[in-house]
């Protein structure tokens, strides 16, 4: 009987271990950028190619960087959440590997929640920010340090439970 109990114990632990593993999201790779200064960029604006913007321009403010593209359906899914978020915190868009003639009408069609959008046509700045699954959302603090990175569309729940409280805390 003791033996059967051991086998049952082993089996149940194995199932528990595998179940825990299966419930993890393999796409959520911990970013080494959290806790580090936001990588430097100096990019032209999407709406005004002759003007440029740098992450340094936001020093002293808590802000959100949202990486999006017109070719990215999940970006449209999270769009209302970003729009809601933008009412209380400055959100800067980073238009990733897109074309101006697609991106600008996208904003017109769906509404433009961004304080401004920078244009990363080649995706080079995306690489510096470790972007691999658009959309991605970063919360950056007053001193320019990345405090949170979200990969994939931001759900209303993510915004409410993770992003909002963090922004409130950082703004205090």
């Amino acid at each position: 009987m003791r033996r059967a109990a051991w086998i049952a114990f082993f089996f149940v632990s194995l199932v528990a271990l595998l179940a825990a593993g299966l419930m993890l999201n393999p796409r959520e790779v911990p970013s080494p950028l959290v806790g580090k200064p936001a990588p430097h960029f100096e990019l032209p604006l999407l709406a005004a190619p002759d003007k440029s913007f740098s992450q340094k321009d936001m020093l002293g403010k808590v802000w959100v960087l949202n990486v999006w593209a017109s070719w990215c359906p999940p970006c449209l899914v999270e769009h209302p959440v970003i729009t809601e978020l933008s009412k209380s915190v400055p959100v800067v868009g980073l238009n990733y590997k897109d074309a101006r003639e697609d991106a600008l009408p996208w904003l017109k069609r769906n509404g433009d929640p961004f304080q401004l959008t920078v244009y990363d046509q080649k995706g080079r700045i995306g690489i510096d920010y470790g972007v691999y699954g658009v959309p991605e959302t970063y919360v950056i603090d007053r001193s320019g340090v990345i405090r949170y990175k979200h990969i994939g569309p931001l759900s209303a729940q993510d915004a409410q439970k993770k992003v909002r409280p963090l922004i409130d805390e950082l703004s205090r």
Partner: protein, 132 residues
Amino acid sequence: MLILFPGAGIAQAPDVEERVKHLAEELRCLVCQNQTLADSNAPLALDLRNQIREQVQAGASDEQVVDFMVARYGEFVRYRPPFTATTFFLWVGPFLFLIAGAILLLRRVTKSHPEAPGLSDEDRARAAKLLE
């Protein structure tokens, strides 16, 4: 920075390509996670291969290229995880299981079985009768 040091010339190209290929095989494509950058056709994999090429041409060592990727995408970008405290069980686990299995098997095989009960005279007589 890298733009300041353009490729060293066509003569070196095959060597550069070899190194780019080698590095791309050591790095994971985060879009299709079970593929290396060399295998993947994802647009990001292409960008990252170009990035590797640029750096190799600018004279970066293999280690510098890998560090560049790790700084942006994390340790997960290494297709072959390094042996650290967090990956200890990943590397050693299978061998531990192998040893545990071997011990269990050995114990089972060498466990002294109680003597099988011998044949009684009656059984022998019956067997002899059957064999006749």
